[in-house]
């Protein structure tokens, strides 16, 4: 039982890492980023390539840094250009980017599934209540909690955090206070994409790598974002943990409905509160 709860937290943590990037980008650019899953995938492949040379932690670093740069480029080249367009139009662009990224990765790394090694430091299992539990999974929990805490602290207590929250509500008004929103969004989209890279690497050893791996987790992340209340970071964290648990206990107790449970939960929550857990945005 306890192990199952722990497993739920692992999956929830992973979803959070991905969802929080979506929230960041949605907040500032109002972009529903369908390419996020494929950025996660690219991050995983980059990390994999370095890790395969024997530098696991180097892979992590390379992936995060490279994805941050990719994020900045994406913001400057695409999101900034489209900032005045209908949000639905930008969805189209991100979908196009998704297709391009998947094909590119296929061309470079091939279609075959790849397995990402676990770093030596975190290999093996520990016994939790006489049942072996992979150390690596505890690491996943640690990473997501660390990201959650530092991100909320950053957003809540720093000036940049205040500006980001402000710009996420109304970019025009925020700019009129003398804040360069384009630069801010470079940081934010870069950060969000870097987090996608981070989650790609962190998820790598749990999942197999394939050019479409992002698609299998993107929808769960969107559910997290929506249940959390669009644009809410704390809400996303709570929702991610909830979905993680639902996923686990659904698999155990309601296997025939396990795939629709997250959807049902979302429907129920939205009907109860149309703006999600923490939603006040209009």
């Amino acid at each position: 039982m306890f192990i199952q709860i722990l497993n739920g937290i692992v999956y929830g943590g992973l979803l959070y890492l991905l969802a929080v990037g979506l929230v960041l980008i949605f907040g500032l650019r109002e972009v529903v980023n369908f390419a996020h899953g494929s950025l996660f995938m690219v991050g995983a492949y980059l990390g994999f390539t370095v890790a395969a040379m024997g530098y696991w932690w180097g892979g992590l670093l390379v992936s995060v840094v490279a994805m941050a740069i990719v994020g900045c480029m994406l913001d400057a080249a695409v999101f900034r250009t489209l900032r005045k367009q209908d949000h639905i139009v930008t969805v189209l662009v991100t979908f196009g980017i998704l297709l391009i990224l998947e094909t590119t990765v296929t061309a470079i790394w091939g279609k075959a599934y790849l397995t990402y090694p676990v770093p030596r430091l975190l290999a093996g299992t520990v016994d939790i209540g006489s049942s072996p539990f992979p150390i690596y999974r505890l690491f996943v929990i640690a990473v997501s909690v660390a990201v959650a805490l530092s991100l909320s602290a950053w957003l809540r207590y720093t000036r940049t955090g205040l500006y980001i929250r402000a710009a996420s509500t109304d970019a025009r008004v925020t700019a009129m206070q003398g804040i360069n929103v384009d630069r801010l969004s470079l940081i934010v989209v870069g950060l969000g994409t870097a987090l996608a890279g981070l989650s790609g690497v962190v998820a790598g050893p749990l999942l197999s790598l394939s050019p479409t791996m992002g698609n299998y987790i993107l929808i769960d992340s969107f559910i997290v974002v929506v249940i959390g209340g669009l644009g809410s970071f704390a809400g996303a964290f709570a929702a991610a943990l909830l979905i993680g648990q639902i996923h686990n206990f659904g698999a155990v107790y309601l296997p025939w409905a396990s795939t629709v449970l997250p959807f049902l939960l979302m429907v129920a929550i939205l009907i109860w509160r149309p703006t999600g857990f923490a939603g006040s945005r209009t």
């Binding site: 192990i3 199952q4 497993n7 692992v10 999956y11 992973l14 998947e102 094909t103 296929t106 091939g110 279609k111 075959a112 599934y113 790849l114 397995t115 676990v118 299992t125 049942s131 072996p132 539990f133 992979p134 690596y136 999974r137 998820a203 050893p205 749990l206 999942l207 197999s208 394939s210 050019p211 479409t212 791996m213 299998y216 987790i217 769960d220 996923h247 686990n248 206990f249 698999a251 155990v252 296997p255 396990s258 795939t259």
Partner: protein
């Protein structure tokens, strides 16, 4: 006039890796035939379109191939794709040689004159399990299977087999397709106290399950066996995590027949690594097409179709008969384990079950026109 074969297959969907194997085997067979002056004097030409493993797209792309003059089709992967185009063969005046679809219906309830199957259908896999199970000492088995028709069917047959040899099934878990985290299922297998786990998963699910059970120490603790689980592709991906996993093998490059040895040798010369199970099966499909063309001495699909039923084909698995009643090629099936062969891990055949013993019952009522 050339022999034109259309290859609608999945190049970008869920089974894109298989599609890649399909294409490699088709190209190999075509090059080989053309280097030898073609098939009965006919040069071989192929054309391929991506079906994304979606039935409606499979239909559209197949129709395009047929209309562009490639009326002999092969290479579809998902059973749904094969089932979707089967009824259209007559209208299009084309034939379909199935090499990967596993659904029994294709040559059973839904059989049609224009469809032939070269590969192993699910019922044949099921018949392979019992002889193997009888010789094992594990008596408590858990089942982890994909929650689709194939997984459910296989799981059920395995459970029956376990009971028939006096064992018990401790847990029967059906997993949705393409989930990311198998931890809850692994945990349940562990808790059930099973001595072995029977896995009916393919592709990404197979890889994820194997990798995660290794991390949880499951693979080392109990016997792991499965169907389609130990494909060459999966084993290659998993590396060391695959070692010691048992499984049904439909084709293996380690198969010890002279025809196969020649084929593997030529293959390795070209691609540097031995052919995978899907590559072997696809190649066999091409062999069957070629020989039917030779027998018919025509590339017209109608003539080729006439030459197929009851014909004996000379394949890499030996001389095999295309059963006239349902167009299923009667082939042997194998059981093996992943072992180290010349430094690489590969599924190695341990038990061979003869074509006669795995032959499925005929359920097809072919409306012969």
């Amino acid at each position: 006039d050339p022999l034109r074969i259309g290859v609608p297959t999945d190049l970008s969907g869920t089974y894109a890796t298989l599609g890649e194997e399909v294409m490699r085997a088709v190209h190999f067979a075509v090059d080989e035939a053309n280097a030898n002056g073609g098939v009965a004097g006919h040069k071989v030409e192929i054309k391929s379109y991506d079906t994304e493993a979606k039935p409606d797209l499979a239909r559209r792309q197949s129709e395009k191939l047929v209309s562009e003059g490639y009326p002999i089709l092969t290479g579809l992967i998902a059973s749904g794709e094969g089932l979707a185009i089967a009824p259209l063969m007559e209208r299009w005046g084309s034939i379909y040689v199935s090499t990967i679809n596993k659904a029994d219906e294709l040559t059973g309830a839904n059989c049609v004159p224009g469809v032939f199957r070269v590969n192993t259908q699910s019922a044949m896999d099921a018949a392979t399990v019992k002889p193997w199970l009888a010789q094992r000492k594990e008596k408590k088995w858990a089942i982890v299977a994909a929650d689709i028709a194939w997984g459910r069917g296989s799981g059920k047959l395995f459970a029956e087999a376990v009971k028939s040899v006096g064992g018990t099934v401790t847990a029967e878990l059906y997993t949705p397709a393409n989930i990311n985290d198998f931890a809850p299922y692994i945990e349940q297998v562990k808790k059930s106290g099973a001595e072995g786990v029977w896995v009916v998963l393919a592709g990404r699910d197979a890889v994820n399950f194997a990798q995660q059970s290794k991390q949880f120490g499951l693979t080392d603790a109990i016997t792991v066996a499965g169907v389609s689980f130990t494909t060459d592709g999966t084993v290659k991906t998993l590396g060391a995590a695959a070692k010691g996993i048992y499984g049904i093998i439909n084709y293996s490059s380690t198969l010890d027949t002279p025809e196969n040895k020649a084929f593997v040798k030529a293959w390795v010369a070209k691609y540097k690594s031995p052919p995978t199970n899907f590559e072997g099966e696809t190649y066999m499909g091409m062999q069957v097409i070629y020989q039917a063309v030779q027998a018919a001495n025509s590339v017209k699909p109608a003539d080729v179709a006439k030459a197929m039923p009851g014909h004996t084909f000379d394949t890499i698995m030996g001389k095999l008969v295309m059963r006239a009643e349902d167009h299923q090629l009667l082939k042997p099936n194998y059981f093996g384990v992943v072992e180290d062969v010349d430094g690489t891990l590969r599924p190695v055949i341990k038990t061979t079950v003869s074509a006669k013993d795995v032959a499925p019952p005929v359920t097809c009522k072919m409306a012969s026109k």
